[in-house]
């Protein structure tokens, strides 16, 4: 950007004015004007008065012989005090000194050559400074320079705009250059056009390496279809939600990046380019993992108490029963009762340990694969439908006609659904309605489990996902159900949330990233 922007403001109109003025000077020479000459003079005057330039005519003694309205207005001058005044009275002293305009005009008289391309900042009393671009034109009669015409164009606004545009451009260039985020522009097909330094740093690929390559080919294999579909949607002018897709660095490392896409349209309204902003999530993931670890440690303290209480109750019951038996219980009915308490207590203690294990070590995330969510939910609802019928709960299911693909683990998701459905049944001891629905929109798969049960008090809403938080009587709930759900859904990179009104019911919503079917 080294070119001088001000050179663009030399307008052809000034050339015409010059010629007109030259003609006029000729006719001033002779005192008699023919009608056609008179008409011409009127035309010149009109022209002079209406052009947006300031025009000043000075004679060889550097006195002003003519000034158009524009000049007088901009300079806040009267024609009376201007015409006939020496040029150095018309311009303020600082301008004269700074631009040496007098000397320049004098040179035009001497050399008879046009002078152009200078700028003056001129400040008339009481108005803000203006910037002019001026040209000094020698007006010749019979080979001699009779007078000089100073043409001044007010370029204040243009200069300001150019400076502003330049500044904006510089700033943008800086943003792109120094952004921590990956800034990638691509054509409508998703082939890379620009690739900023952050993108180079994060991936290890230079801008030259990736130029012209399809963006989706830089993604991890299993994310390529998703990237492709995102690009296709944006290219069709649709807005897409930001999502996380991994890039493969030149080192082979996988880099989690949150991508947000936007598009640019050309004059005909067609999408002509795509712009992708990607945030490297590596650090954030590491931080989140650490945070999760800390939260787990803190939870461990809370849990140790919970575990102690939960486990020692059934152990205590079994232990008591064993002590009674050991003393030799006389009554056979009581004997049987003791045996039953021992068995039940041990089973419960062991069940609690099972849940704890699942909470602390949910089965491997590596077991995830692309599965259809609909049969998982349908199957789980079916397994539990007997209990619902017993409790007079009407179950309504609503699934989309086509499959809803996600990257997930069937067993874990089934466990989540079971916990939610059991909780809903527990909230409706007198019966009620349970609605289970899956919906699929904008790259998300959403499961909704809605009941008409007792609802959850506002004070408890934040606690229900905590391990061991339960409002159920001892022996009928350990409070691990929802914490297990939370762990599993987080592992699926999803969210679980609740909305509830006491006495009306509760709505549990699970939001999972949906996957696009891989073209065969």
């Amino acid at each position: 950007m080294a070119r001088d922007p001000y050179n663009d403001y030399y307008y052809p109109i000034n050339m015409q004015v010059m010629q007109v003025m030259q003609g006029r000077r000729m006719s001033i020479g002779s005192n008699t004007l023919s009608p056609s000459e008179k008409w011409q003079e009127q035309l010149y005057d009109m022209l002079l008065e209406s052009i947006p330039s300031s025009v000043l005519l000075v004679d060889r003694s550097l006195r002003v012989i003519s000034a158009n309205r524009n000049f007088l207005e901009k300079g806040r001058r009267k024609a009376r005090s201007t015409i006939g005044a020496p040029m150095n009275e018309v311009f303020p002293t600082p301008i004269l000194e700074f631009t040496k305009i007098e000397a320049k005009v004098r040179r035009v008289f001497e050399q008879g050559e046009l002078l152009r391309g200078e700028q003056i900042t001129y400040r008339a009393p009481g108005i803000p400074a203006r910037i002019y671009y001026y040209t000094v034109v020698p007006v010749k009669a019979a080979g001699r320079v009779e007078c000089a015409m100073i043409l001044m164009d007010d370029i204040t606004e243009k200069v300001r705009l150019v400076e502003q545009a330049h500044l904006v451009q510089m700033r943008l260039a800086n943003v792109v250059e120094y952004a921590n985020d990956l800034l990638v522009s691509a054509d409508a097909e998703g082939c890379i056009v620009t690739w900023n330094p952050a993108a180079e740093r994060v991936t290890g690929f230079s801008s030259r390496d990736v130029q012209g390559r399809a963006m989706c080919n830089l993604c991890e294999h299993s994310d390529q279809e998703d990237m492709k579909s995102m690009i296709q949607q944006v290219a069709r002018g649709k807005s897409v939600r930001p999502r996380e897709l991994r890039l493969v660095a030149s080192s082979g490392a996988l880099i989690p990046v949150a991508w947000a896409f936007s598009y640019m349209r050309d004059e005909s309204g067609k999408v002509s380019a795509l712009v992708a902003v990607g945030r490297d999530l590596t650090e954030r993931h590491a931080f989140e993992a650490q945070l999760a670890q800390n939260v787990k440690l803190a939870a461990l303290g809370v849990m140790a108490g919970g575990i102690a209480h939960e486990l020692r109750n059934p152990l205590s019951v079994s232990y008591s029963a064993a002590q009674f038996l050991n003393e030799g219980a006389p009554d056979p009915a009581f004997h049987a009762e003791c045996v039953q308490k021992i068995l039940a207590g041990i089973e419960r203690a062991s069940g609690i340990i099972e849940n704890l294990l699942r909470f602390s070590r949910p089965s491997e995330a590596g077991n995830m694969k692309i599965i259809d969510l609909v049969p998982v939910v349908r199957e789980t609802a079916r397994i539990l439908s007997n209990q619902g019928a017993l409790q007079k709960v009407t179950v309504t299911e609503n699934y989309p006609a086509d499959s809803v693909l996600i990257n997930g683990n069937w067993n874990q998701l089934q466990q989540v659904l079971m916990n939610l459905i059991f909780n809903a049944y527990a909230a409706m001891p007198e019966g009620g309605e349970l609605k289970i629905a899956i919906s699929h929109e904008g790259g998300r798969a959403v499961i909704v489990v809605r009941d008409t049960g007792c609802g959850i008090a506002a004070a408890n809403r934040a606690k229900i996902f905590d391990p061991f938080f339960t409002t159920n009587a001892a022996g009928s709930g350990t409070g691990l159900g929802l914490s297990i759900c939370h762990t599993i859904i987080s592992q699926h990179e999803g969210l679980i949330d609740v909305d509830s009104e006491v006495g009306k019911g509760s709505i549990f919503t699970i939001d999972l990233p949906a996957r696009v079917a891989r073209a065969q």
């Binding site: 108490g305 102690a308 209480h309 486990l311 020692r312 109750n313 059934p314 152990l315 205590s316 019951v317 079994s318 232990y319 008591s320 029963a321 002590q323 009674f324 009581f334 308490k341 039940a344 207590g345 409002t471 009587a473 001892a474 022996g475």
Partner: protein, 145 residues
């Protein structure tokens, strides 16, 4: 064993000590009731703090067994409320699997006198009976007032 008690009775026709068991776990209530009844106590039980406060306002007990974790009121908090909100002055015993013997919290509630004794779960029958009898005899009254 009860006949050993020297203090005169004010109300109860029989010389039996009454125990209030506060525990939300039905199995624990079952075992304590069986243990205490077969050892000559009269047993009443409550499965929540609110229910316990109600019972203690209405009736008198020689001794009260308090679980540390109840669905509505935390056991230690409940003990304080028993002293403030009910006329009960009889010994309170903290029975819980939530603490260990020399747990800081336990030491504190024992030394402040809020609780007369602590028994951990799983309950060792003979140990609990000893603790209860000790507490009753050192309280020196046959009944809660």
């Amino acid at each position: 064993m009860m006949s050993r008690d020297p203090a005169p009775l004010r109300q109860a026709p029989a010389q039996r000590h009454t125990v209030l068991i506060i525990d939300d776990e039905p199995g624990v209530r079952w075992s304590l009731r069986h243990l205490l009844e077969s050892n000559g106590f009269t047993v009443a039980s409550a499965s929540s703090g609110v229910e316990a406060l109600k019972s203690l306002k209405a009736s008198k007990f020689s001794i009260v067994l308090v679980d540390a974790k109840l669905p509505d009121i935390d056991g230690i908090n409940l003990a304080q409320r028993i002293r403030i909100e009910t006329p009960c002055q009889s010994p309170l015993i903290l029975v819980s699997g939530y603490f260990y013997d020399d747990d800081a919290v336990v030491s504190e509630v024992l030394s402040s006198g809020l609780f007369a004794a602590f028994a951990t779960k799983p309950i060792v029958h003979n140990a609990l009976l000893l603790i209860i009898r000790d507490a009753i005899s050192s309280a020196g009254t046959p009944e809660c007032s």
